[in-house]
């Protein structure tokens, strides 16, 4: 619900800026499109979680997980079996340009605190060279595609493969 309010706020703000002539109309589309894309991806993860739950896998989207430090972290998707020990976490980074190392670091510190068996970062369009090196060093599985929606089935396959194989 909060996300929808953000979308409405962004669209209204863009409309005001266009009406004042502050920005060309085509530029105002960018933030609105980003939020819409984010919502769509989020919705897709929710569908993916529902589907997995039907198959008996305890999946959550979005997932709020309290780490070792006691801090609550939010992930786009997570598999948390009855034991309570997080098996898989998935996050997304959508950008108009290459995703930098700070985003990888941001994901990693959450992962470090939660200690899942597998961490997957879905990236659109792709990681920069330094970010990719960092992700590899941290043992993060990176899925990349130019089309955000294609990342969902890729993530689903990766999660299913891991869960199906019995985890680590």
């Amino acid at each position: 619900m909060r996300i929808w309010r953000i979308l409405v706020a962004v669209v209204l703000q863009a409309a005001i800026l266009i009406s004042r002539g502050s920005i060309p109309a085509f530029l105002a589309v960018i933030p609105a499109a980003s939020v819409a894309l984010f919502l769509e991806t989020r919705g897709d993860f929710e569908s993916m979680a529902s589907e997995m739950n039907r198959k008996g896998v305890k999946a959550h989207a979005p997932a709020a997980i309290v780490g070792k430090s006691g801090v609550r972290h939010e992930f786009a998707f997570a598999v948390i079996p009855e034991t309570g020990k997080t098996k898989v976490v998935v996050d997304t980074e959508l950008s108009v340009k290459e995703v930098d190392e700070m985003k990888v670091l941001k994901f990693y510190v959450k992962v470090f605190d939660v200690s899942p068996e597998k961490a997957i970062l879905c990236v659109c369009p792709k990681l920069g060279a330094r970010a990719a090196t960092l992700a590899k060093e941290y043992g993060i599985t990176v899925l990349e595609d130019d089309v955000p929606r294609k990342l969902i089935p890729m993530a689903e396959d990766a999660v299913n493969e891991f869960v199906g194989s019995g985890g680590s």
């Binding site: 430090s69 801090v71 609550r72």
Partner: protein, 257 residues
């Protein structure tokens, strides 16, 4: 909340004033310090002073001062001090353009440990940036760093004064953090068995009113790390009250896990 804060003088700014930093090595004879003070106060107004002993038995007097006369020179002050048998050596540094900086000392020592001094707000802003850049992961990072520092500091304290004394004198040792400006800590037992409640008045971590952080994760970790080192078991640490959430003081619950 500046009452109770110790004033120290690595720098002093007083436009239009003639400023001196006087550093005297004193003999260990009784009354050395007072005889030097009696001498210098005829020529300068002392703003802030400190004295400490060295391992060789001599003592050092260091004082920031304002000259009572604009014509007074550092050499005259030095000569005056050296006229006393209490002085082994004396150095007098003059400020420029109303600005006096301590160019004699190169840091701080507490016991055998070196300390650095930094602006409280400077450190708070570092925490703000870590949290902003790394989101919730930044908060957990601050907790981890606090925990590591709490453990290490407590281990050092145990090494220096002994484990039993650390446990028995915890109330007094908490004042050690207070004296360093971390906040005024008051620990009491409970409410859970073997647990503690630690109240921190004027907690440094949430001292900036405009911080976007939601709690004191570094302090929370520090207390958990300290408890672990002191009592040899893991403690869960929860911040139940925080100034960033409108409370007057922060409060932490530490529970054995």
């Amino acid at each position: 909340m500046l009452e109770g804060k110790k004033k120290i003088f690595p720098v002093h700014f007083a436009p239009g004033k003639k400023l001196f930093h006087i550093v005297v090595t004193l003999s260990d004879a009784p009354g050395s310090l007072s005889s030097i003070l009696d001498l210098v106060r005829t020529k300068v107004n002392l703003i802030g002073t400190t004295t400490y002993t060295r391992s060789d038995g001599t003592a050092v007097f260091s004082g920031f001062s304002e000259a009572l006369s604009q014509s007074l020179t550092p050499k005259e002050v030095q000569k005056l001090i050296m006229s006393s048998k209490a002085a082994i050596s004396a150095e007098v540094y003059e400020g420029k353009d109303g600005l006096l900086v301590d160019t004699f000392h190169t840091g701080f020592v507490v016991g055998d440990e070196e300390y650095i001094l930094m602006r409280r707000d400077g450190l708070v802003r570092v925490f703000d940036r870590v949290s902003k850049m790394l989101g919730s992961g930044g908060d957990s990072l601050l907790f981890e760093e606090g925990m590591a520092m709490g453990m290490r500091n407590s281990e050092m304290m145990i090494k220096n004064v002994g484990a039993k004394r650390v446990r028995d004198q915890m109330g007094v040792l908490n004042r050690f953090l207070s004296a360093q400006g971390w906040g005024i800590l008051e620990a009491k037992t409970g409410p859970e068995k073997d647990g503690f409640t630690v109240k921190v008045v004027d907690c440094f971590e949430c001292s900036a009113d405009d911080s976007a952080r939601k709690g004191c994760n570094f302090m929370r970790g520090y207390l958990a790390g300290g408890a672990r080192a002191n009592f040899g078991k893991d403690y869960g640490s929860k911040e139940t009250k925080c100034r960033l959430k409108g409370a007057e003081a922060c409060e932490f619950q530490l529970t054995p896990s």
